[in-house]
Amino acid sequence: MRFLRNIRSKIWACVSVALLSYLVATLATTWVNNQTKASISHIEKTDLPLSSNGIRVQALFKAQSDDYENGLLTGEEGEVVQANGRHEEIAALLDELVRLASRRHNDLYPRILALRDDYNDYFVMASQYYLEAVHQGDIFAARREVLQLGKLRARLDADFRTVVKSLQEMIVTDLTNNNERIDRYTRLLQVLFVLFLVLTTMVINWLANKEIIAPLASVKKMILDFSRGRTVDKPAGSPDGDEIHDLAVSFWQMTRELQHITVSRDYVDNIINNMSDSLIILNPDLTIQTVNHATLRLLRLSEEELEGAAFSALFSHPDEAVASSLFQGLLEGKAVINLEAFYVDADKRAIPVLFSASALYLPDGTLQGISCLGHDISELKEQRDQLEFLANFDKLTGLPNRNLFFDRLQVTMKEARRYGHLFALFYLDLDHFKPLNDKHGHEGGDLALQEVARRLTATVRESDTVSRVGGDEFTILLSRVRHASDAMKVATKILEAFDKPFFIHDDECVIGVSIGICLSSPELTSADVLVKNADTAMYAAKAEGRNRFIFSLPDQN
């Protein structure tokens, strides 16, 4: 409907329908009123004059009859003349009655017409005979005519009576008819009113629904669709639509612009799922809400296995105190940045991660959850351990190197000072190692050194430290000895261990060792001096014929 182009015209259309039905109702009421008025007017202008004239003419006729009677009974001519004098008025009234009755289409008109004719006939005779009778002075002279006139008058009198009665009844009938008509019209109006009310309500409802409510509902659906992330189609309809259509088009344009200027959820999901670090979102009760793909890859667990699981089963830290206070702090809003911790994967294997976490809050300030970022540092840690190993251990034998040896010596010295016990330092050098090396090459030498390391390690306690401090030079730190004899026993055991032949490439060979032993004493506070003493003692053992041990004596210093 082109004329319903805006909401104003639509509302006016509804109002116009209501006003139109009001107009129809008013017209119907007016018509009914006019009908009633016409009916009442008819009663007023025809029925009432008819009735009153009827009564008057009847009364006049009666008076005329009385005058005639009096004249005839008394013989007074004047009475008869007076009676004759009433004729004009009676005739005029009868003519008026005929005129009025002619308006009505019922049997009254012929009756009144006949009455007038009868009366006129009667009067012609009466005026003549009665006057004659009075003149003659004997009523009985023309008694046949007088009797006939008397009968005629009696009939006329009866006719006058019935006509007047009929006229009066006519008024009653007309009034009754009028009342019935009013009742009928009232009922008709009531039915019409109800009909128009229903019709108007239906039309207005239909119009409002089609032109206002349905378009608004489609706009609402658009908004709902958009809020659920669906793509909104351009609203159908002509370009010169109403305000609702304009609103729909504006909203559609807004969604288009919003799609251009805002990051879509898919986009964010894409970023999160494609990032290399593990992202785990926790609920406030520290169960897992959601994880990204990197987490699934890292832990080799499925999304179903992870979601809803307790995060504590997944997380570990060497220091349990740190682990327990960590989450409490997160829930209180403290962030954790780059903490070295472990995630436990599907095979219960600890994966070292650099763990960062912080609480997520809703705009109203309530805690929504905790985001946990885990950066896998397995390789980094391995490299670092490797470096650390290289710095402190001998790569070939796996024994602590000179660096670590001195470190442990320092520690041992401090403990010995603190607890007042003895320790012993052995300085060992392999005998004739160079010829062996020359014979079997570096590879053979390396094999020999590894075997030496194994035998040395096997002869000492776990708490003691065997180190390789040079090419074929080793040290043994006995962390706790009661007496020099303890060190002697160990040295003897070492020499015995070297008695067994070594096999290099199935070639049997014998390796000897010279051992210098330095026992600790409160006076010896320098590690360098201790090592130097042991070294000196070792050279002394070499000088004495190799493959033996010699104690560094205190007085040697």
Partner: protein, 149 residues
Amino acid sequence: MMHFLGRKYLGGLLVLLGLMAAAGTQAAAGDSFVLVANHNNQVESLSRKDVALIFLSRKRSWSSGKNIAVVINENPKIYSDFTYDILKRSPRQYLFFRKKMLFRGQGMPPPSVQTDQEVINFITAHCNGLGYVSPQALTPEVRAIPIVD
């Protein structure tokens, strides 16, 4: 209105007549006039009431069904006696009664004559006739009808 009062008056009169007859106070009827009828008439006697009704045109036929031909004798010697005695009204009142009757078309009033002889002639001529004459004028041409109380 006058008509209506007249009838009422007549009714009262008839009641009065009945009362008088029952009391046996009737004076010597027939002293001043005699009812006469045709010889062919079978009627034996008439009550005073019937006579009054007949002359007031209230009763118009004999028991046989024949119309009664009434004639009024206006002989001054007996007329007033008849009207007062039988009709309980003056001759003038009776005249008015007949005039009204005629005027109103209620019926033809009985003819009136002036002498007894005219009555006798009328009765002789009419076999259903009824009239009255003075006793002296009674002739064998007519039959006297006694009035019984």
